[in-house]
Symmetry: D2
């Protein structure tokens, strides 16, 4: 399990006074990226080889709204590791530990030129196998 | 059914060369907003009464990626109309009529101060009942 | 002079109830893009040759705020055409013709791999010379 | 002087492979917000009183581009403190200490309902006077 803190800035909110619904997906991806980074996986070196993780499927429940200036925590776990895809379970909490968002995110490893599936690089799989 | 065209600008893309996954949610919401507008429902007048539609649940499949400068079409249908919530089915196609994204989006009508559910205003329900 | 209409969606606003200041830059770029398109210049074909226009300098005055659901108009003129750069003057009005934003934007033509200046392609310069 | 680190995520980049020009404005605002927070000024309590800082004028030079996954540093200083406005000077560096962006940002204190200028609250001015 990995935990990453996110501050809500004006850029994240909308005129309804709450975080705009698409922006939670940014928070979820930042958390996934920081988790990979903590494991020694830097995605810019993958990008140089035209390799990227793209989201194929997402299911998200918005239970309660985050507001401007709140400090959120994103908790991420790996539910599934396959040869060319990963499934993350992610939860966003506010500073009172109230659960705001739950999401299940399936990402696939692709060649960014052809957008075709490609096996997850071995060193990435190796690091991920350790965290399950 | 409602159809709304969206142009992909640089702002929508990412370094992978494709539309960033969260930005499709913006496209989906623009399409829902334009559909409501076409029915005579302007959400700024709802906002003045602290009434808004917030997304409670979203399930989305990313089948193929949109790229910079493409002209997309969002097709929206209403799958369910309840007293305080709506379920939209939405599909995004590119200019070759290739299906890129399918999504099911549940929105709830809320009081934006308390974030509590509130019945969808009658004139909105009336308009929506006609399109089913 | 070119005129392009933009609708303000929830995604563009912030918790202050107004359009977030960075998002006007998106509106300005959409307008520049649509102007180029109207002249027959499609930037995806430039991108395929690793050629892009990048903003080098921007000066912007925020005179009045746009709000959710407003229909804006962006008026663009070309103030300067050089071998490898352009200067646009742009103004954003709301539906009451109130001036909200004025901006001067200098864009340079670059090779996106090296980020070095490159001459604006001749067919682009040719089209632009006609609109001055 | 205040220094704030920012990580570049996919959400910040565009198909040109670099940070999208409007997104640096988000970075600049995050840095201003964190500076105010470090001084004990939380903007959500201002927002509750319908008080906000809005950008009135911005001048920005884009000297070099930031790329995906870079760790940036935003350095902010206060150039001017007036009764109802502030001028910040801000610089963004990459991890090699290369200067990417310089900006001068004038923000005004406003009543967010009327958008009219309002004096900066005394406790805010007091904190800011100490950092000049």
């Amino acid at each position: 399990m990995h935990r990453h803190n996110i501050r809500v800035y004006y850029e994240d909110t909308d005129a309804g006074g709450i975080v705009y619904y698409a922006n939670y997906l940014k928070f979820l991806e930042r958390a996934r990226t920081e988790w990979l980074r903590a494991l020694g996986i830097e995605q810019d070196s993958l990008l140089e080889q035209s390799t990227g993780f793209v989201v194929k499927h997402l299911e998200i429940d918005y239970l309660a709204a985050a507001r401007f200036n709140e400090l959120l925590a994103v908790e991420s776990t790996l539910a599934l590791v396959r040869r060319a895809s990963l499934v993350f379970e992610q939860r966003i909490y506010n500073h009172n530990n109230r659960l705001l968002v739950t999401a299940q995110v399936k990402v696939a490893c692709v060649d960014l030129r052809s957008m075709k599936a490609r096996p997850i690089p071995d060193f990435v799989l190796g690091e991920l196998s350790g965290v399950r």
